[in-house]
């Protein structure tokens, strides 16, 4: 059992020249779960992660790993393993030598290099120069680098990028197992569907600001709605709105989507008002649509 550490981002601001990359962002990442850090390209995910890891100095606010700034960690690679980009390798250096210099810098035994090469399945390519690696192999090497210190926290930026379906399935199981051991796992992505089956928690950002944070299941549930078709759609919508529960949105000429009502309650209301219904169907939460909608609208 490896005890994870809580990650905290508190009132984070980062400005690059005229660009406000991160704007008053606060969230926490709990141990023992896989948290998805989601947002469209340019939302500020990578900048936030780089602030968290002490690589970028925030304009305001701060970030903590287990209550401490990253720079003050005694043994950073044993606390946090990170893979930020698939390109942080010298093309002329072999995978093994890349991991060797990191192990030396962090005073980790050379045996760890061999172990992580095996874990991510690139041991047979270890002596090849990274310049000849495919994107998928670089991703695996990045993961090996992150795992080197057997860390309590794993931070991966777009880890599924370039992996084949088998690789993605393997990564999913691997990350779930690490979280089950009690570790903190934070993975960023701009594609929700890529991580939807992997994550427990979601932190969504757009334009440098928090859009929503919570458990994936709760978010999905909150997104669930009921689709109702009726020739007297407008009367129905008015009746639902009058009750001031949930939200009602019209679609086409005869359809409404209702959130915050059960199908039974809607059916009952229609019955008592004598409104004719042609369809009454539960729609599961469509997180992808929420993601698109929220990230395009931006935070309100």
């Amino acid at each position: 059992m490896r005890t994870g550490l809580t990650l905290e981002v508190v009132g984070l601001h980062k400005r690059f020249g005229a660009v406000q990359a991160v704007d008053d962002l606060s969230f926490t990442v709990p141990p023992g779960a896989v948290t998805g850090f989601l947002g469209p390209n340019g939302a500020g995910k990578t900048t936030t992660l780089r602030c968290l890891l002490g690589l970028v100095r925030p304009t305001a606010g701060h970030t903590l790993v287990g209550g401490k700034p990253y720079r003050d960690l005694d043994d950073p690679l044993r606390a946090v393993g990170a893979a930020l980009e698939a390109a942080s390798f010298h093309p002329g250096r072999s995978a093994r030598n890349h991991l060797r210099f990191l192990a030396q810098a962090a005073d980790l035994p050379p045996s760890r290099v061999e172990e992580v090469l095996g874990v991510v399945g690139i041991a047979e390519y270890a002596d090849r120069r990274v310049g000849g690696f495919s994107l998928g192999m670089r991703q695996r090497l990045g993961l090996a680098q992150a795992l080197l210190g057997d860390p309590a926290v794993l931070v991966l930026d777009e880890p599924a990028n370039g992996l084949d379906p088998a690789g993605i399935a393997w990564l999913r199981g691997f990350l779930r197992a690490l979280a089950a051991e009690g570790r903190t796992v934070l993975i960023s992505s701009h594609v929700l569907s890529e991580v939807q089956q992997t994550v427990d928690e979601v932190v969504m950002i757009a334009r440098g600001r928090l859009v929503t944070q919570g458990g994936l299941a709760e978010l999905e549930q909150a997104q669930a709605s009921v689709r109702v078709r009726s020739p007297e759609r407008d009367r129905l919508a008015a009746a639902l709105r009058a009750a001031e529960d949930g939200t009602v949105s019209e679609e086409g000429t005869d359809t409404v989507h209702v959130r915050g009502w059960s199908a039974q309650a809607i059916g009952h209301l229609a019955h008592t008002r004598g409104i004719e219904l042609h369809e009454l169907a539960n729609e599961p939460g469509d997180l992808e649509r929420l993601f698109l909608q929220l990230t395009q609208e931006g935070p309100s």
Binding site: R50, L55, R57, P76, S88, H98, Q104, A105, A106, D107
Partner: protein, 264 residues
């Protein structure tokens, strides 16, 4: 994180790409040419009424053949490895995993500087061996004594190695200042091969050699006590101090910039 581990890590970085031995071949080849040519033409009447340089029976000429040629043959490559050692971290983004493993960036830059000094010493020693072998052969062929007991020769040889090593620090400073690898290399080599000699000649012509002798190349040259006509160089010890001062200043610049910078 221990200092020894970090130093080993930085040495591993240098030794696990092919650049260091490519540059080492350059060191050997350039030194062979330098010492061979210096030995071949020492004391030869250049004609046109100009004064001949000191002959191979003088300590100045022998120091130039062995120590002076070793320095001249190696320092530009030492400069280059220092520049690429720093710019490579940004070009290939290895600065990211490096600073993740060692968030105290001062430690990284100090370890990197020490590792490059070690490699610089190795370059200097290889250059010295080349100069002694090739220069020695030419000296013998021209019918002179090898002159290994020449006054000041071993001091000059030792200081040549030190001077070569210190030039890696200049490279690290320039590499931190200019992160674009190609630009940094061009500036470093351009300044030391073109701008500095021109400036030196200009200062000499304007009777400002009092300033010119404090330039890094002039200070380095002074360390090997070469043949001098007008005493326009610093004494060897002052040259060593001035070059060490440049190395420290460039190293400090490297630390100062690296600590502040965002790694994106």
């Amino acid at each position: 994180m221990s200092g020894a581990g970090l130093l080993r890590s930085e040495l591993t970085k240098i030794l696990t790409t092919r650049l260091w031995w490519g540059l080492l071949i350059g060191v050997a080849m350039y030194t062979v040419i330098q010492s061979g040519v210096t030995a071949a033409f020492a004391g030869v009447d250049p004609g046109a009424g100009r004064q001949a340089s000191p002959g191979l029976d003088t300590p100045e000429a022998l120091r130039a053949v062995y120590a002076g040629a070793a320095f001249t043959g190696a320092y530009i490559f030492a400069l280059a490895i220092g520049v690429t050692g720093m710019t490579g971290e940004y070009r290939y983004e290895t600065a990211t995993p490096t600073f993740l493993a060692t968030p105290r960036r001062v430690h990284v830059v100090v370890a990197k500087s020490l590792a490059h000094l070690v490699v610089g010493v190795a370059y200097g020693v290889v250059a010295l061996v080349c100069a002694f072998v090739v220069g020695g052969v030419v000296v013998l062929v021209r019918g002179h004594d090898l002159g290994l007991t020449t006054p000041g020769l071993w001091r000059a040889a030792l200081l040549a190695v030190l001077a070569v090593a210190l030039w890696t620090m200049v490279g690290i400073g320039i590499g931190t200042l200019i992160r674009n690898q190609v630009a940094a290399l061009l500036v470093a080599v351009g300044v030391t091969f073109l701008f500095e000699p021109l400036l030196s000649i200009g200062l000499y012509a304007a009777d400002l050699q009092e300033i010119g002798k404090f330039l890094p190349s002039s200070a380095s040259s002074a360390m090997t006590s070469p043949p001098t006509q007008l005493g326009e160089l610093l004494p060897w010890w002052a040259g060593a101090l001035v070059l060490a001062g440049y190395a420290l200043a460039f190293g400090a610049l490297g630390v100062w910039l690296s600590v502040r910078r965002d790694v994106t």
